[in-house]
Each structure stands twice: as structure tokens, then as C-alpha cells.
């Protein structure tokens, strides 16, 4: 995992104060996590409910990503969950941020991360095998 370029992009995001968690995921499956596989402690207590809600959102993403759905977000308690969908895929970069975060600034870096990850996915030598990762992190 240490050399996974996608995990390194997620590591960079995790260093931002207001990114409590970030993953590359699809329905029922976390494909890539940050290198140390840790989220910030704030989300631990509500992770289970957020995870269930996320899976429902991925149903929508699966349905509409082909129609041009690029972003979706929901608010749960004091958190917002942002989905940056990879073009024409059922995978998304998912980030959990506090509800009162300066979201505009975070969005800029999330978009940069989406572009970086998408580039990695499309570079043959660096491609993360998401099928293999799906097996490793399958949570459903």
C-alpha cells in the first residue's frame, strides 16, 4: 500500500485539517484508503451510519454516472459527505468534512485529487488494480 500512488493522493488530502476521512470507493466496496488506513477520530463514532448512507448514494451514482453525474453530497448530523465521481465510472472519491468547513477551499483540492487519481487510473504503469482492491476492502 505504501507505494500506491492513489493512496498517496489520499494521504495528501488527509493532511488538510478539515478532511476527516477520504477514500476511493464504489457501492459496498472501499477501493483505496489512505496509507495508514486511518481516519480522523471525529468520524469513528458515526462511521457505520455514514457508510450505510454512502452505499445508498452509490446506487444513485451507479444509475446516473453514465448520464453525466459528476458530484453529489449529503449532510448527516454535523458532517458533510462529498462524492467526486470519476467520469463514466461507478467509483468516486469520497470525503467527509465538518458541516461548517470552508468548503469552497476544500473543493479546489478535492478536484485536484480527483484529476490526479483519474490520471493515475489511466496510466497503465501506475494503474491501481481496483478489482483487487475491491476484494481487499469489501465491506458489504
Amino acid at each position: 500500500m505504501r507505494d500506491d500512488p492513489i493512496a498517496q493522493v489520499l494521504d495528501d488530502l488527509m493532511r488538510l485539517d478539515d478532511i476527516y476521512a477520504c477514500i476511493v470507493a464504489r457501492r459496498n466496496m472501499i477501493s483505496v484508503m489512505p496509507t495508514d488506513e486511518q481516519f480522523k477520530p471525529e468520524v469513528n463514532q458515526i462511521w457505520d451510519v455514514i457508510k450505510r448512507a454512502m452505499d445508498d448514494v452509490f446506487t444513485v451514482i451507479g444509475e446516473y454516472s453514465g448520464a453525466g453525474l459528476t458530484e453529489i453530497e449529503f449532510r448527516l448530523q454535523n458532517y458533510e459527505v462529498l462524492f467526486y465521481v470519476f467520469p463514466e465510472m461507478e467509483n468516486a472519491l469520497v470525503a467527509i468534512v465538518p458541516a461548517l468547513a470552508n468548503k469552497g477551499l476544500l473543493e479546489v483540492e478535492l478536484e485536484n485529487a480527483r484529476r490526479d487519481i483519474f490520471k493515475i487510473m489511466n496510466t497503465p504503469s501506475q494503474t491501481t488494480d481496483t478489482t483487487q482492491k475491491d476484494e481487499l476492502y469489501a465491506t458489504a
Binding site: L100, G104, V108, E109, N112
Partner: protein, 433 residues
């Protein structure tokens, strides 16, 4: 001797301060054939936690030739030829055989803005008074606002308590004098700078952190400063122009400011009624609608067109204190109006601005833009980057986000506005157009 002009954009996304400092300088100067004549440096606040800004500057000076004029500071984000970023550092390095350059500094900008502005402007004047180049430019970069932490309340954008608000409004001046916390007074500094250097074309920007208003830093050569104004003066034969656009549109909602407070920084009464309830009534928003949270999503889209010395000053409401609206600049009373703006309007303002420079073949550009645009557009701010990229093509440009910005030229006078897009473009007049 043949005229040479080279420009380069430096960039670093490294986390450690010293490494980032080195990289931002290296990536800029490696594209130049001779040492830069000035180096403009902007960084997000993140390096405070990853080694500190003195280390960041030390990293820059590990690489940058000694004596290169350098100014800059912390900003909420920036965009350049490579993209749009709210974390990292970027620099504009310019090298020219036909250019005179000066840098200046004035300290204690919140305690004594006029003295700081005068000191800084005099440094520029003294260094460039004998220049033979016809066009003069100034970047006026000022320490931005720091929201004072009120005991028991903290740093809030919306204060509900009447008692705390009354205390805070009265203490604002004192806070600025004693602790240098409060509004940045960039409008006053800019006015004074224009008075001192009326022949310069100017662009104004302010230093800020990540939109929180807790701390900001300025860079002046090797020095790391707070509460300072730093100037870059350039004399050149290049054609240059500055321009401000904002995209805010008038509504039919007008009101009269009938009482000002906090040294003309607070609207206490409008239409002879407490300002905030009357403002909500005009917008048809229910009482209690504005909160710390809703302010981010609502009030940014309804700026107010205020007046100052006969000029229109469109501003965003940064702070509400019970019944009073605190504004970022000194204003006059009288009739004003509520404006409205959308994301599309903001992007249109960029296009409108660049259209004015259609007859210039750009060599490089420096731009300051309101950080509320970054907050409002989020990653859609990349649309602005694409517009700039298509205008500048392979020529360098650096845009920094700011908390109070504007431009000045003799022809257009001072334009100070929030939510605005400000350009300074250097190039050659295209005589064919």
C-alpha cells in the same frame, strides 16, 4: 543591447516548509537564462504547521540569488498556468534588461495605516524617481483582517448577543491600536498610497490565511512580517494596464444608511431602524434566518453597493453584530442599494475584464481576486483558470486570492470592491487591432 524579457512561474505542493521554499524558487528560476529582477511569492497558510514561514523563506533563499527583490505573503489560494490551488506555494519571477524595480515595506499597518502606507510608498519613490522608463506599476500588498477572539464567544462571523456586539463595536478601534487585530484597513492604505504615488498604475491585494481570519504573514526580502504593507514597484517600457470588474448587478432594493458606527465601519441603522432586521425585511428573509452557517450560503450572494467619497464600493457583509452590519472599509452614509451576484456573473466578469486587454499581446499578468469567489465557486473556479489560460496561452500569469482588492490608474481612479476580479497585464500594444 537587445531587450530581453523572461518570466516564469514557480510552484510547489510539498508539505515541509523548507523543501517547498526551495522548490518554488527552483522551479521558477530554472526556466530563466538570467537572475530574476523580482520575485513575487505567495503561499497558503499550511506551512505554519510544517516548519513555519521563516523556514519556508529560508528555503527560497537557499536557491534564489541574494539581493533579488522579493515580496509576497500568505493567501487563501492561487491560480497560475498549472491550475488552481488552495494548498501550496507559487511565485512569479521576472527577468528583464529593461526594467527598474523597487520594493518597500511599512510596519504596523493596522495600528497606523497612514504612516505604514507613507513609509512604504516613499521607499518606492526614492528608488524609482530617476527611472527613464515611462510606465510605472505598483503592487500594494497589505496584511489582511484578523478577527479578534471575543472572550466567551471566540472568532465568529455572527454575534447574536446585544451586549457582546455593543462591546465589540466599541472595542474595535482599541483592538486595532493595541493588539493589531481587526479590519485590515487596506482601503485607507490604498488611498494613501495613491495619494503618494499618483502616476503609478496599481493593483491592491491583501494577505490572508485559509478564510478563517486568524493569522496572516507578509514576505519582504528575507524578512517574515505580520501587520505590514509591502510594495513592489516596477518601471518599464512595456505597455501595461490595470482593470477591475465584479459582475454584481443592481436590484431594485434600496435603503438609506442613517447611522454609522465603529469609525464608519459599521452600519448601525438603515431607514432609521436597526440595520440587520431592516436588511432582512428588505430581502424578505425571516428573522433568525441568518446564522453562522447560512451566512456562507446566502449573504455572499447579496453584496451591498456602498458609497465612499463619491465612488461606488460594492462589499460583502463579513460580520454581523446583533443589529449592526460590519463592513470591511470606511464608508459614507446616504442612499445605497443591495446587489446580487451569481456564479455565472462572476465568470462573466472575468471574460469582460480580459476583453478590455484584447489589444495587448501579453507578456505576463498579475491578478488579485476576492477569496469569497473561491469560497463561492469552489472547484468551479477552474473555469476562471481556463479563461486565463486561453488569454495568456504560454505566457506566465499568477492570480492570488485576497480579502480586499482593487486597482488604480490615473484614468479610472480608485476602484475598490469585494467579490472583484483585478488584473494587471504587461505586454505590447497590438497595433494591428
Amino acid at each position: 543591447m537587445k531587450e530581453t524579457l523572461e518570466t516564469a512561474i514557480g510552484m510547489s505542493r510539498k508539505w515541509e516548509a523548507r523543501d517547498a521554499g526551495r522548490e518554488v524558487a527552483e522551479t521558477a528560476i530554472q526556466k530563466l537564462n538570467r537572475p530574476p529582477d523580482f520575485f513575487l511569492l505567495f503561499s497558503t497558510i499550511h506551512y505554519e504547521k510544517y516548519g513555519g514561514f521563516q523556514e519556508f523563506l529560508n528555503g527560497v533563499w537557499d536557491v534564489l540569488p541574494k539581493g533579488t527583490p522579493l515580496i509576497g505573503g500568505t493567501v487563501p489560494g492561487f491560480m497560475n498556468n498549472y491550475g488552481c490551488f488552495s494548498r501550496g506555494a507559487s511565485a512569479l519571477a521576472v527577468s528583464s534588461t529593461d526594467m527598474d524595480v523597487a520594493v518597500g515595506v511599512g510596519k504596523n499597518s493596522k495600528r497606523n495605516p497612514f504612516r505604514a502606507a507613507k513609509q512604504c510608498a516613499e521607499m518606492i519613490h526614492n528608488q524609482l524617481k530617476d527611472t527613464s522608463y515611462k510606465n510605472k506599476f505598483l503592487l500594494n500588498f497589505i496584511s489582511g483582517p484578523v478577527i479578534p477572539s471575543i472572550p466567551g464567544v471566540g472568532q465568529k462571523k455572527y454575534i447574536r448577543s446585544g451586549f457582546v456586539s455593543k462591546f465589540a463595536l466599541q472595542a474595535l478601534g482599541l483592538s486595532q491600536k493595541l493588539m493589531q487585530k481587526g479590519l485590515s484597513r487596506e482601503d485607507e492604505i490604498f488611498e494613501k498610497t495613491v495619494q503618494q504615488l499618483p502616476d503609478y498604475q496599481m493593483i491592491l491585494g491583501t494577505s490572508m490565511d485559509d478564510y478563517k481570519g486568524i493569522k496572516n504573514y507578509q514576505f519582504f526580502n528575507e524578512q517574515l512580517l505580520t501587520n505590514a504593507v509591502v510594495n513592489l514597484g516596477v518601471a518599464t517600457d512595456l505597455d501595461l494596464g490595470v482593470h477591475t470588474t465584479h459582475g454584481m448587478k443592481p436590484t431594485d432594493l434600496h435603503f438609506t444608511i442613517t447611522k454609522l458606527g465603529a469609525q464608519r465601519h459599521a452600519i448601525c441603522k438603515i431607514n432609521n431602524k436597526p440595520a440587520v432586521p431592516e436588511f432582512l425585511r428588505l430581502l424578505d428573509w425571516p428573522e433568525g434566518f441568518l446564522t453562522e452557517e447560512t451566512m456562507l450560503h446566502t449573504i455572499l450572494y447579496y453584496p451591498i453597493s456602498l458609497r465612499r467619497l463619491g465612488r461606488d464600493v460594492p462589499v460583502v457583509t463579513p460580520l454581523i453584530m446583533k443589529d449592526s452590519i460590519l463592513v470591511p472599509c470606511v464608508i459614507d452614509d446616504g442612499e445605497v442599494s443591495i446587489l446580487t451576484v451569481s456564479g455565472q456573473d462572476l465568470i462573466q466578469a472575468v471574460r469582460e475584464n480580459l476583453r478590455l486587454f484584447n489589444d495587448i499581446q501579453p507578456e505576463f499578468g498579475l491578478l488579485s481576486t476576492c477569496m469569497t469567489i473561491l469560497q463561492t465557486l469552489g472547484h468551479k473556479t477552474n473555469i476562471i483558470q481556463e479563461e486565463l489560460h486561453s488569454y495568456f496561452k504560454d505566457k506566465s500569469f499568477l492570480l492570488f486570492y485576497s480579502a480586499g482588492e482593487g486597482t488604480y490608474s490615473k484614468d479610472k481612479d480608485i476602484t475598490y470592491a469585494n467579490m472583484s476580479f483585478n488584473t494587471a497585464i504587461f505586454g505590447k500594444q497590438d497595433t494591428k487591432k
